[in-house]
C-alpha cells in the first residue's frame, strides 16, 4: 500500500512536470488530467474520500472540460509537444528543482510521504471531510456565504470583462 501511494506521488510529479514544461495547451492538459486523477487517489490514501470525489467531478469533469473547449478555440498551427527541445529543456530544469528539493527537504519530513491518514487511522467518529461539510452548512455558515459570494463574484467579473464583443477585454474569436 505504501509503495502504491509513493507511486501515486511520483505520477503526480510527472503530471505536474508535463504541465510545467510549457508544451502547447493541448498536450499540457494531458499532464493536468494525470495529475488530478493521481491526486484523487493520493487524497483517498489520506482518508478524505469526499474531497477526492469532489476534486474528480468539479476539477476534472467541470473545469478541465471547459478548459479543453476553450483551448480548442485557440489552436496553434505548430504546437510544441514533448519532443521539442524547448519543452525538454524546461522539463529537465524542473526535474533538477525537484531533486534539489528532495535532497534538502528529505523525503518524509517535507514531502510527507508515508504518513498515516488525516484522522490518525480512524480516531474520530466521523470522517473528517464529511464532518467538515456538515460544519460548513451549520456553524460555518458565514464562510459558506462568503465562499458563495466569491464564486458569484467570479461570474460577474468574467461577464464584465467580456462584455461588448470586440470592445470587451477579450477579443471575440
Amino acid at each position: 500500500m505504501t509503495y502504491f501511494v509513493i507511486f501515486l506521488g511520483i505520477c503526480f510529479m510527472l503530471g505536474v512536470l508535463a504541465v510545467a514544461s510549457n508544451p502547447s495547451p493541448y498536450y499540457g492538459v494531458v499532464g493536468l488530467v494525470l495529475a488530478s486523477v493521481v491526486s484523487c487517489g493520493w487524497l483517498m490514501s489520506l482518508g478524505v474520500s469526499f474531497v477526492s470525489l469532489a476534486l474528480f467531478m468539479i476539477y476534472l469533469g467541470g473545469m478541465l472540460v471547459v478548459f479543453v473547449y476553450s483551448v480548442s478555440l485557440a489552436a496553434d498551427p505548430y504546437p510544441e509537444a514533448w519532443g521539442n527541445w524547448r519543452v525538454v529543456g524546461y522539463g529537465l530544469g524542473f526535474v533538477l528543482v525537484v531533486c534539489v528539493g528532495v535532497v534538502l527537504g528529505g523525503f518524509v519530513d517535507f514531502w510527507k510521504v508515508g504518513v498515516s491518514t488525516v484522522d490518525s487511522g480512524g480516531a474520530s467518529l466521523v470522517r473528517l471531510d464529511f464532518g467538515g461539510v456538515a460544519v460548513f452548512y451549520s456553524w460555518g455558515v458565514g464562510l459558506f456565504l462568503v465562499a458563495g459570494w466569491g464564486l458569484l463574484l467570479v461570474l460577474f467579473v468574467v461577464l464584465e470583462l467580456v462584455r461588448g464583443l470586440s470592445r470587451g477585454a477579450i477579443r471575440a474569436v
Binding site: V146, G150, V154, E160, L161
Partner: protein, 346 residues
C-alpha cells in the same frame, strides 16, 4: 463603466478587505485576498485599452501566485502544528514562504516589477485604490505574523525596496509610475521597522495612505498623467498646484511636513535597536526619492517662461474641488507638531 458592475466591484473590495483584516483563520484571510483580487480586475481593465488589459492580466497573475503561496504556507504550518491561527505561524518554512508571498502581494523588491506597469495601465482613481486599499490586507497579515518572521530577510527587503523605489523613479515622466515607485519606497520603510515596533508600521501606513490619497486626488482633479501636462496645469487651478507642491514634499519626508514623522520615528526606533547602519542606509536612499519629488513639485508650481506674468488663470474654471482633497492636503502638510498625540493613537 456599467454602474451595477461598479457597485458589485466596490462592495466586494470593501468586503474582501474587511474579511481579511478581521480574520483569525488562514482560510478566511485567503478568501478575502482572493475576493479583493477578483473585484479589482474589472476596475483595472475598465478603459478596455490594451495597456489596461495587460495591466489587469499582470495583476491577476502575480496576486494569484502570491495567494497560492500564502495557502501553501498556511497549510504546511497547519500540517506540522495542527492549527490554523494566523498569529501562531511557527514552522520556519511557512514563515519564509509567507514573507515571500506578502512581498509579492505588496510589490516589495525583488517582486516589484508588476507594480509600475499595473499602475500605469489603470486610471488615477484605480491606481489610488491599488496603492492604498489593496495594500491593507497583506500588511495586516504581516503585522499579525511579524514576531515569527526572519528580521534579516525583512531588513533586506526593506533596504532594497527603498533603493529600487528611489533609483528607478528617477527616470520616470509619467506621474502614475512615479507614484508607483514612491509606494515601493514607502513600503520599504514600513517593512524596515515591522519586526521591532509594529505600531510604527501601522502609523507609517496610515500617514502614507493619507498623503498619497491627497496627491492622487489632486492629480485626478487636474487630470495630469505626465510631467509635461503638469507644466501647464497651473493655469487651471493655481491654488491646487501650490498645495500639491507641499503634499509632494510631505510624501518625500521633508520636515516640517507630516511625512517626516514616520521616517523620524523609524530612524529613532532602529537606532534604539542598535541598527544604526540600517537607519543610515535607508535614510540616504530616500534622498534618491527626494529628487523626483522635488522635480514633480517644481513642475507643479512653475509658471511657464514664454507666458508673461499677465497670463492669468483660465477664466473657464473646473468644478469645485472636493472637500476630501482639501482635508487630506491640510492634514498631510500640518500634522507634524501633533506627533506626540499621534504616537499614542497607534
Amino acid at each position: 463603466m456599467n454602474p451595477h458592475a461598479k457597485l458589485i466591484s466596490s462592495m466586494s473590495l470593501i468586503m474582501g478587505t474587511s474579511i481579511t483584516i478581521s480574520s483569525n483563520h488562514w482560510i478566511l484571510a485567503w478568501t478575502g485576498l482572493e475576493i479583493n483580487t477578483l473585484a479589482i480586475i474589472p476596475l483595472i481593465s475598465k478603459s478596455h485599452h490594451p495597456r489596461a488589459i495587460e495591466a489587469a492580466v499582470k495583476y491577476f497573475l502575480t496576486q494569484s501566485t502570491a495567494s497560492a503561496l500564502i495557502l501553501f504556507s498556511s497549510m504546511s504550518n497547519a500540517w506540522s502544528t495542527g492549527q490554523w491561527d494566523i498569529t501562531q505561524l511557527n514552522h520556519p518554512t511557512s514563515c519564509l514562504l509567507l514573507t515571500m508571498a506578502i512581498a509579492i502581494k505588496l510589490g516589495l523588491v525583488p517582486f516589484h516589477f508588476w507594480f509600475p506597469e499595473v499602475l500605469q495601465g489603470s486610471s488615477l482613481t484605480t491606481a489610488l485604490l491599488l496603492s492604498t486599499l489593496m495594500k491593507l490586507p497583506p500588511i495586516t497579515l504581516l503585522l499579525l505574523t511579524s514576531q515569527s518572521l526572519n528580521p534579516t530577510l525583512l531588513t533586506f527587503l526593506a533596504i532594497s525596496s527603498a533603493l529600487v523605489g528611489g533609483w528607478m523613479g528617477l527616470n520616470q515622466t509619467q506621474t502614475r509610475k512615479i507614484l508607483a515607485f514612491s509606494s515601493i519606497s514607502h513600503l520599504g520603510w514600513m517593512i524596515a521597522i515591522i519586526a521591532y515596533n509594529p505600531q510604527l508600521t501601522i502609523l507609517t501606513f496610515a500617514l502614507y495612505t493619507m498623503m498619497t490619497t491627497a496627491v492622487f486626488l489632486s492629480l485626478a482633479q487636474i487630470k495630469v498623467l505626465k510631467l509635461s501636462t503638469m507644466l501647464i496645469s497651473w493655469t487651471k487651478t493655481p491654488m491646487l498646484n501650490a498645495t500639491m507642491m507641499l503634499t509632494l514634499l510631505s510624501l518625500a519626508g521633508l520636515p516640517p511636513l507630516t511625512g517626516f514623522m514616520p521616517k523620524w520615528l523609524i530612524i529613532q526606533e532602529l537606532t534604539k535597536q542598535e541598527m544604526t547602519p540600517t537607519a543610515t542606509i535607508i535614510s540616504m536612499l530616500s534622498l534618491l526619492g527626494l529628487f523626483f519629488y522635488l522635480r514633480l513639485a517644481y513642475h507643479s508650481t512653475i509658471t511657464l517662461p514664454p507666458n508673461s506674468s499677465n497670463h492669468m488663470k483660465l477664466w473657464r474654471t473646473n468644478k469645485a474641488l472636493s472637500t476630501l482633497t482639501a482635508i487630506l492636503t491640510a492634514t498631510s502638510t500640518s500634522l507634524l507638531p501633533l506627533s506626540p498625540l499621534i504616537i499614542t493613537m497607534f
